[in-house]
Amino acid sequence: MKLSRSIVSLITVVAFVATLASHAETIRYQARPGSKVKLNGTSTMHDWTVDSSIIGGYIEFDSNFPLDPSKPSSDLKVTPKVEVTIPVSSLKSGKSLMDEVMHDAMKMKNFTNITYNLKEMKPKERKAGDPLQFDTKGDLTVAGVKKEVGMVVTMEPVAPNKLKTTGSTTVKMTDFGIKPPAPAVGLGLIKTGDDVKIDFEWMTARKDEKKTASAQ
């Protein structure tokens, strides 16, 4: 009787360990200061740029995620969970009048953040040692309007437990219901172009707490 109890206990422990092993660990990289996002546009008078150094959010992926550039590319089994937040108020041009026009056009009163949620991520073909690049698709929400955007992003471990994600894409203001501003101060002569190129460099750092996938 005693023996059989021990066997049962042993089997239980082995089964538990096996269960743990079969679930990969979930790793979370949290946004940290040091990021940059630039919105580059045009107008009939001159090109313009607004930028912010606040990119909030997180990346969550399992421990199988191919994060080592020294290894060749591999398939992704699961798309990481990525949520990005940029406060509209943090976007600055260096000119307060232009900022007011921009914030107003982006309906900041009602929609305080620009958000992005990753939907799909595929590693690009590369050789071992090349930067980690991915084709991505995700939902970008600006002024309350959601639109799918695709872009190539590069991920680069820059320090122990620190990850830099960079990318670039071009969107149209009108796709998000934003009428390209024509400030009254320009007497209607200054018209802003519809296209806006977004460049970003997003710094994240691994969170101390680790959660297991099975615990979620």
Binding site: R32, G34, I54, T85, P87, S90, K92, L97, V185
Partner: protein, 455 residues
């Protein structure tokens, strides 16, 4: 409580109108900022309003209340004064604002974002320290304090409040018209600085009428030697600040003399003063003020080796020396007669005015708001930058990394509107306090480097 008194002054606008005509005849070079034909577009503001409270509803406080009502970022939530009559008058200009007698009530109110301190000077310190401690952004009228110790305490608290905006009430530092003239002087258009001269000439007693004898002393704090910094401290501080700002130098010594020549009503603060402010081995500021004679009112004159710039009622004129080099802008300037000489008049945006169909030779002015409006606009704009900056940062990264937060704020504040910070306020205040001390003693006082160190 009242801050300034202009009850028996000449009508300034009329005076300046006649003065401008006189200057035309004299042949000055008018330095006016880029002039748009229409009023500049008022900034739209998409963010939440900044809830402000004004402490001190005297004449100057009420001016601030009125100007705040014209700002698109401000919501004047409350006003405060211990004197019921002033509180009532303040309420007339801000009927929706809460009225309180005790300023600590405002500090306990979480909805108040910013405090504007317009009380008598000797009451500033405790209010400012309490307000910063309570996490409020602060605009403190100049002078910051009536003693160096109090000024230093304010400067230390303001410099340590990294997540708050502090502005000293040296309003001309935010005025686009004056900044434009400053740029001319700083660019060397007048040559090397020779000296500056400023004056304040009024004929009024500086005494406020009181409903009863008990309150008379409280109301007339400017005439009380124990707490007043006199004419040079209350009025001349703006001229002292302008001189140092234009010449980009810090004062090194002050000398002064004072007398009571007309208002022999028992006061112990002189009604007429002369002061001299040294700037090392360089040029000096000569400042005189009187309450006994209003001739020629108030203005600043910056003398350089190539030209003289007069600054008066937010406008500037340049008088070139005959041997001064050509600068290039004279092409667009109009010529006027100054006695037997021919002067050149500048219209800074001649090309732009011509493009708009205007005559660039006409002297126009579009920054029609007063300096206080622009100073409050800068305060609200910069407060908004700090407030949203702190909020954006802490929402996304938490509040633990204070160093990174301060770096972020420093970066976004590169785009702030020009305004007097705690350092500008401290230097001007200390210089003015010492100048008043020199006036009272009839002596010269050296201003050591340590005096300007707030540590």
């Amino acid at each position: 409580m009242n801050k300034q008194n202009s009850s028996v002054e000449l009508n300034r606008r009329n005076f300046i109108g006649s003065f401008s005509s006189m200057m035309m005849l004299m042949g000055g070079v008018a330095i006016t900022r880029s002039q748009d034909k229409a009023e500049p577009e008022k900034e739209r503001y998409a963010g939440p309003p900044i809830n402000c409270a004004v402490i001190g509803c005297g004449e100057w406080g009420r001016k601030i209340i009125t100007e705040l009502g014209r700002q698109n970022r401000a919501n004047l939530a409350a006003i405060c004064d211990t004197y019921p009559a002033y509180l009532k008058r303040g309420g007339n200009a801000a009927p929706k604002a809460e009225k309180v007698a005790e300023y600590k009530q405002l500090l306990d109110n979480k909805n108040i974002d910013a405090i504007i301190v317009a009380t008598p000077t000797h009451l500033h310190k405790q209010i400012v320290l309490d307000a910063l401690q309570a996490g409020k952004h602060v605009y403190c009228e100049a002078p910051l304090a009536h003693t160096v110790d109090d000024a230093r305490a304010i400067a230390k608290a303001a410099s340590g409040a990294k997540k708050l905006n502090f502005q000293a009430g040296l309003q001309q530092r935010s005025d686009p018209e004056i900044i434009h003239i400053l740029n001319f002087v700083r660019a060397g258009a007048a040559g090397s600085p020779v000296m500056t001269r400023s004056q304040y000439h009024k004929k009024n007693s500086w005494r406020r009428s009181s409903p009863n004898a008990d309150f008379e002393k409280t109301l007339n704090w400017r005439l009380d030697k124990g707490i007043s910094v006199g004419l040079v401290g209350e009025i001349g501080i703006h001229n002292i600040d302008a001189a140092g700002w234009f010449m980009n130098r810090r004062p090194t010594a002050v000398s002064g003399f004072g007398s009571t020549l007309l208002w022999n009503d028992g006061r112990d603060v002189p009604d007429t003063i002369q002061t001299l402010v040294d700037y090392g081995k360089g040029p000096r500021l000569v400042y005189d003020a009187t309450l006994c004679n209003s001739f020629d009112s108030d203005y600043d004159v910056f003398y350089g080796t190539d030209a003289t710039v007069m600054l008066r009622d937010r406008r500037g004129w340049m008088f070139k020396e005959t041997d001064s080099p050509l600068l290039g802008w004279e092409v667009y300037a109009r010529k006027e007669t100054f006695f037997k000489e021919v002067g050149i008049v500048l219209a800074a945006n001649a090309t732009k005015l011509a493009a708009q169909g205007d005559n660039p030779t006409l002297d126009t002015q579009t920054n029609t708001q007063g300096s206080v409006f622009y100073a409050l606009e800068a305060f609200l704009n910069n407060t908004d930058l700090v407030r949203t900056g702190v909020q954006d940062f802490t929402t996304n990264f938490g509040a633990e990394d204070e160093k990174a937060l301060v770096e972020y704020l420093t970066d976004i504040l590169k785009a702030k509107k020009p305004a007097a910070d705690w350092k500008d306020g401290y230097i001007a205040t200390v210089t003015a306090i010492k100048a008043h001390e020199a006036v009272m003693k009839g002596s010269r006082i050296e201003l050591s480097d340590e005096l300007f160190n707030i540590a």
